[in-house]
């Protein structure tokens, strides 16, 4: 079906089903239960899951296939975001033109950055891309303040009247998809459970499924094969008379456009842009997502993105009051003791937990969460099947 088959098809169907059923799957606990703290099925976080999923899928096309580690991908995300918000401010509140322009501008910018950076490989390439990203950040933060709004960023304001959309005087325009507002949702209540079906989320999810499909096709195409050859030994490739530069540049631009798409979607879901989106830590985050999930695998980056965003948004919100509520059933001394132990790892300590998890994954599962999944699957299927699985699943080999 759709030009993909076998394992790829099942992975694709799995991703599509997960994405479409996310509002249900991510809200497994009743609203009033103590575990509701761990529910992630609210629109903002679901949108972030899939948007960063797209970002990481794109990044993986470059890093996972060619092995070129870009440390400046957030710059393309930012450029895409700024392009999209200007389209919404000036042309139309419909998200489609904004997202298209986001992809176009991020693509153009990545041609420039890629053309220069790809003259070097390895650590020098990483440093060059990092330098470009930091330059973009500095430009957006201060030098280009008239265009980017500087530190305070850009938003849609009451005075903005896009050419193609009718906005009433004094009203603030809202992003829509042919009339459907991104913020519209309907809540389904089933017993103690509540599920929020949000328009914006489904737009993102459909785009993500499409982006994922495209990534599979790229992975399995002769072009993808060429990129993998670059990764395994670029020098040997050059000696055979093949010029690998057009391939790496194409991969770079494609992943830049993915980042632009993610940036455009971010603006479509939440109509504001700030320069921190391009800060080097944002570039680092996508690297973490990809490695955590499993670089070079299809589904890995999506899992990694979800994992990091979950930590950032859910664990950071657990404060000492919540901890006290959890352990309230224990005697006072025990309760305080447990709260003291857990407290450094939640709330403001979420970075610490994330760091520990990351270390654990890198040490015990160098192939990322995907490898973890494979190990568990292998356990169920028995040892023999596992060996066979290990041989055929060569596309799941991690980078480096």
């Amino acid at each position: 079906m759709l030009g993909i088959k076998g394992k790829d098809l099942s992975v694709f169907i799995l991703v599509a089903v997960l994405a479409l059923l996310a509002p249900f799957l991510l809200n497994p606990f009743p609203v009033d239960s103590a575990m509701a703290q761990f529910n992630a099925g609210y629109p903002d976080l679901m949108q972030r899951f899939v948007i960063f999923g797209i970002f990481a899928i794109g990044f993986n096309i470059l890093f996972g296939l060619t092995g070129y580690l870009s440390f400046g991908h957030a710059a393309f995300l930012g450029v895409g975001s700024y392009a999209a918000i200007w389209m919404m401010k000036l042309v139309s509140l419909n998200i489609v033109p904004g997202i298209i322009m986001a992809i176009v501008f991020a693509g153009l910018f990545s041609v420039l950055v890629g053309y220069i950076s790809l003259r070097r490989s390895g650590i020098y390439f990483s440093i060059l891309t990092l330098a470009f990203a930091q330059m973009s950040y500095a430009l957006a933060y201060s030098v280009l303040t008239p265009i980017t709004g500087g530190e305070t960023g850009l938003q849609i304001k009451p005075g903005d009247t896009p050419l193609l959309s009718n906005v009433a005087e004094g009203e603030i325009g809202r992003a829509n998809f042919f009339g459907l507002e991104m913020s519209d949702s309907s809540v389904i209540t089933l017993g103690g459970w509540e599920f929020t079906m949000n328009v914006g989320y489904y737009v993102c999810a459909v785009v993500m499924i499409a982006a994922f499909y495209l990534a599979i096709r790229i992975f399995r195409s002769p072009f993808g094969m060429m990129l993998r050859a670059v990764k395994s030994n670029q020098q040997r490739m050059n000696y055979t008379g093949l010029n690998s530069k057009p391939y790496t540049l194409a991969a770079f631009v494609i992943s830049g456009m993915y980042a632009g798409l993610a940036g455009g979607l971010m603006v479509a879901m939440d109509t504001q842009v700030g320069p921190e989106r391009m800060f080097w830590t944002a570039s680092g985050e996508v690297v973490l997502m990809t490695i955590l999930g499993g670089a070079g695998t299809l589904i890995g980056p999506v899992l990694g993105a979800g994992f990091i965003k979950y930590m950032e948004n859910i664990v950071s919100k657990i404060n000492s009051t919540v901890l006290h509520e959890w352990f309230a059933f224990l005697p006072d001394g025990m309760e305080d003791f447990l709260v003291t132990i857990f407290y450094p790892f939640v709330g403001k300590g979420w970075h610490l937990t994330l760091g520990l998890m990351f270390m654990a994954v890198v040490i015990f599962l160098p192939g990322g969460l995907v490898q973890g999944g494979q190990k568990i699957a292998a356990m169920f299927r028995g040892k023999k099947a596992a060996e066979k699985d290990g041989k055929t699943a060569n596309q799941q080999t991690p980078a480096e």
Binding site: M1, L2, G3, L20, N39, Y42, P43, D44, L45, Y141, S142, T145, G149, G150, E151, T152, G153, Q155, K157, P158, G159, G170, E171, I172, R174, F177, L180, E181, S183, D184, S185, S186, V187, T196, M197, N198, V199, Y202, V206, I209, R217, R220, S221, P222, G224, D270, T271, Q272, G274, E276, R277, E312, N313, S316, K317, N319, T321, G347, K348, H351
Partner: protein, 454 residues
Amino acid sequence: MSRQNLTRRGVLKTGAAAGAGLALPTYLSAAGHEGFTNAPSGDTVTLGFNVPLTNAYAEEGADELRALELAVEHLNGGGDGGMLQTFSSKALDGTGILGKKVEYVTGDTQTKSDAARASARSMIEKDGAVMITGGSSSGVAVAVQALCQEAGIIFMAGLTHSNDTTGKDRKANGFRHFFNSYMSGAALAPILVDQYGADRKAYHLTADYNWGYTTEEAMASSTEALGWETVNSVKTPLTQTDFSAYIAPVLNSGADVLVLNHYGGNMVNSLTNAVQFGLREAEANGKKFEVVVPLYSELMARGAGQNIAGILGSQNWDWKLENQLGARYSGTNAFVQSFGEKYGFPPSQAAHTCYVQTLLYADAVTRAGSFAPCAVVEALEGFEFDGLGNGPTLYRADDHQCFKDVVVVRGKENPENEFDLVEIVEVTPTEQVTYAPDHPQFAGGALGTCNNGA
């Protein structure tokens, strides 16, 4: 590796699947209408405390959170009631808000507008917060304020000093108690002239971002109006840690005052460099060289240590206010006492503004008799109050900015402890720092109409 067989049947199937995917959201778009977003239904009401827990302003954030937790305790009738005893409005009686017990959720802004909005959205969408407060930078305040306007939630800004928050980026659902760049300039200028003379030449070093620009503009225009001359102004990158290269040319520029439009770590570093270069002992144009820091904070003063001795700056509030200047600033001691009892040290101005904002919100809801944002906005607009530590204060209806006295402070020569680093020089009265709503430094914004949300 790829199959390119585009059959008619295949295309139709794909098209149908895609169409179904796109059509799916259409019949899901019916939004519930309860009058306003997150109308509290049970016997509790949830407030969102969105503060920086990590990154540069984590210390301010932690202090804000302490004050906010204290405010919740007081609203629910716990503790000694703090400023509820001195607040001029007596609507609050320690039984929560409108009889509903106050609960809160916390989140980490990371001092990034994206993260702050993500955290605020989760509070609105997941936890059902009706009001969001906190924050420690103007970028974050502007971003979250716009979000609250869109979602139909009240935003009570925490520490944000840029003119833009209630200037070009003002919003009907957003309110700021903290003072701003213009007020700093207007409050400092007369005292600077008084202390250093009217014939001074100033050299500005300005952090290269939005807050820096508005502060520099405010300082330059206020001092120039009183006879000072601005010799030069240089932008410094926000990430700069060594300011030697920027300080070195100052002495030969013909200037005799250095204005550091820096905040946080920037200010600590640039001031330290300035002192190392001997600017404090230098003479220029036959006068003693002076350094000015428009926005002071206790936490910054702690970072800069001995170097702040004798340097003038402005603050929104200081915990010694009532002790030194009398009952006009009542509320200060009540707050400092309950904060001190709970945490063991005096609160910062960031803590104070967040505490006051929460009380003001609770009071406005009680007076309005409703949590509906538009009712709260109406109750807060033009509200005059006293007893919250800053003396008589007005929440101006035109831009949702509080107008109150501004404290001018100077770094102590011999501080006794780490919480008593600044001394109050003078308090500039409200009239001197009041400006027209359409003042050029605040132009270009519009409140719009209040939004009740869904």
